[in-house]
């Protein structure tokens, strides 16, 4: 590695590499990483990358993120690479997949959607109508949701 390592290797946990530059904070929000847990978290932003020019990297110690948690990232970091680390080695590599539906990840942002009543118990469901170009609609009211709106409405 020609580039000096900015954060030391971790013993056990999850490394999320190649996050689009500047998006790591949103990634943390989507993973509900808010400092309320005691495990160490390392975040580097805007570091040079031979692959994508510039990137963010997130290292989460002592926590292996599930596929379901990782798939949440498909909206903002679809090309991130994920490694599950055990005893300083890469135990598993994971891909992020945007499924056909986002269940209980974000609320519909439309003010008059039935799901705006916080007492309604059914899950919040956003359907991925098309991946390229990305088009996501509320499964109930049908309104299109931008990625920005979804990030603002994360549960």
């Amino acid at each position: 590695m020609s580039e000096m390592r900015r954060v030391s290797a971790i013993c056990n946990g999850t490394v999320i590499d190649h996050i689009p530059s500047g998006s790591a904070v949103q990634v943390m929000r989507m993973l509900h990483i808010d400092g309320s847990h005691s495990n160490p978290i390392s975040l580097v932003m805007n570091v040079p990358s031979s692959k994508v020019g510039s990137k963010d990297v997130l290292k989460i110690e002592d926590r292996e993120l599930s596929q379901e948690e990782l798939d949440r990232l498909a909206l903002i970091a679809p090309s991130a690479s994920i490694a599950i680390i055990r005893n300083y080695g890469v135990a598993e590599k994971r891909q992020i997949e945007l499924g056909s539906e986002l269940v209980n990840i974000a609320r519909c942002s439309f003010f008059n959607c039935i799901t705006q009543n916080p007492n309604e118990p059914l899950p919040h469901r956003l359907q991925v109508v098309s991946q390229d170009p990305l088009e996501i609609r509320c499964a109930y009211c049908g309104r299109a949701q931008s990625v920005g709106e979804i990030i603002e409405s994360l549960i």
Binding site: N112, I114, N117, E120, P121, L122, A139, Y140, C141, G142
Partner: protein
């Protein structure tokens, strides 16, 4: 079978429902009686006002020998803060099929997800109104002899008008050319226009009514809905912007149909009522045979080939 949007029906299924409705006409008119739905109960769940839709579902059920429960928001548990989910659990136990109108968009799909019984969307906010669309298609077929490839002008509140949303989707699937006439603030939502175009529909948008109607097969008028405007001043700016009078019809096609989901305010002058172009009252009646056909379909009841 639920009917939440027109996407729940293929073109073939829609046509076969229109054929069913055609066969049910003698019962709808009260000329024949056939209790196909005897012992079945329909729940009419109107969380928002309705005249034609509620009454035509009720008469459809009754003319087929079924029973109707009516829930209106006033005085019901909804006012006490009950969720739609909980209301629907109760209805699931009381009725065999339910019709729902609700001020919030997505309410019908939500209700369908909450229960086992079939759900018919009778209007969800500014969303969809597919049972109206079926009766509109039925009426268009009566007047034009077909529903394929027609030149249709949709007029008025295309932004909030759920009738216009559902009908334009359906017509685009039948190869219509659509002219969308509305004032700027009430234009058809861009995602709907995108959908229509992607299904190959030829679309023109305009603010002028009269130039658009000369080559039309159907002119579909809608009311500018005061209740959908957040602000009275915004409503006043566009209220009454489009009105059709008998003298406006001099150069239209002889079989051009004027339709309206009703109620009208001043969009269609009464001078048109006596002309052959007036289809809106026949259209309102057509809610009965088409909703009969839908009720039978959703309850899995076959309709005899000939009813006399």
């Amino acid at each position: 079978m639920d009917l939440i949007t027109m996407d729940d029906l293929t073109n073939e299924e829609a046509i076969s429902l229109l054929d069913d409705a055609e066969r049910l006409l003698p019962i709808a008119r009260g000329d024949a009686y056939l209790p196909l739905l005897k012992g079945k109960v329909l729940a009419n769940l109107f969380f928002e006002n309705s005249t034609r839709t509620r009454l035509s579902f009720e008469t459809s059920m009754k003319r087929l020998g079924g029973e109707v429960l009516n829930l209106s928001e006033v005085g019901s548990s909804v006012k006490k803060g009950e969720t739609l989910y909980d209301t629907m659990q109760m209805i699931d136990g009381y009725a065999d099929v339910a019709v729902i109108r609700h001020p919030r968009q997505g309410a019908a799909q939500y209700a369908a997800d909450a229960v086992q019984i079939p759900i018919m969307n009778a209007g969800d906010g500014a969303g969809n109104h597919p049972t109206q669309t079926l009766l509109d298609l039925f009426t268009i077929r009566q007047g034009q002899g077909k529903i394929d490839g027609l030149n249709v002008v949709m007029v008025g509140d295309l932004r909030y008008g759920r009738t216009a949303h559902s009908l334009s989707h359906a017509l685009s699937r039948f190869g219509a050319s659509l002219t969308l006439v509305s004032p700027e603030p009430l234009k058809m939502p861009s995602e709907i226009v995108r959908d229509l175009k992607s299904s190959g529909c030829h679309i023109e948008e305009s603010e002028d009514l009269l130039p658009a109607i000369s080559s039309a097969d159907v002119v579909y008028m809608t009311r500018i809905q005061r209740e959908r405007f957040p602000d009275e001043a915004e409503y006043e700016k566009v209220a009454g912007i489009y009105t059709l009078k008998a003298e406006d019809l001099r150069s239209v096609q002889s079989d051009m149909m004027i339709m309206h989901p009703l109620p009208r305010v001043n969009e269609i002058h009464p001078s048109i009522d006596a002309t052959s172009h007036a289809w809106y009252f026949k259209q309102a009646f057509n809610g009965v045979p088409t909703r009969m056909a839908l009720l039978c379909r959703s309850l899995g009841i076959d309709i005899p080939e000939a009813i006399v």
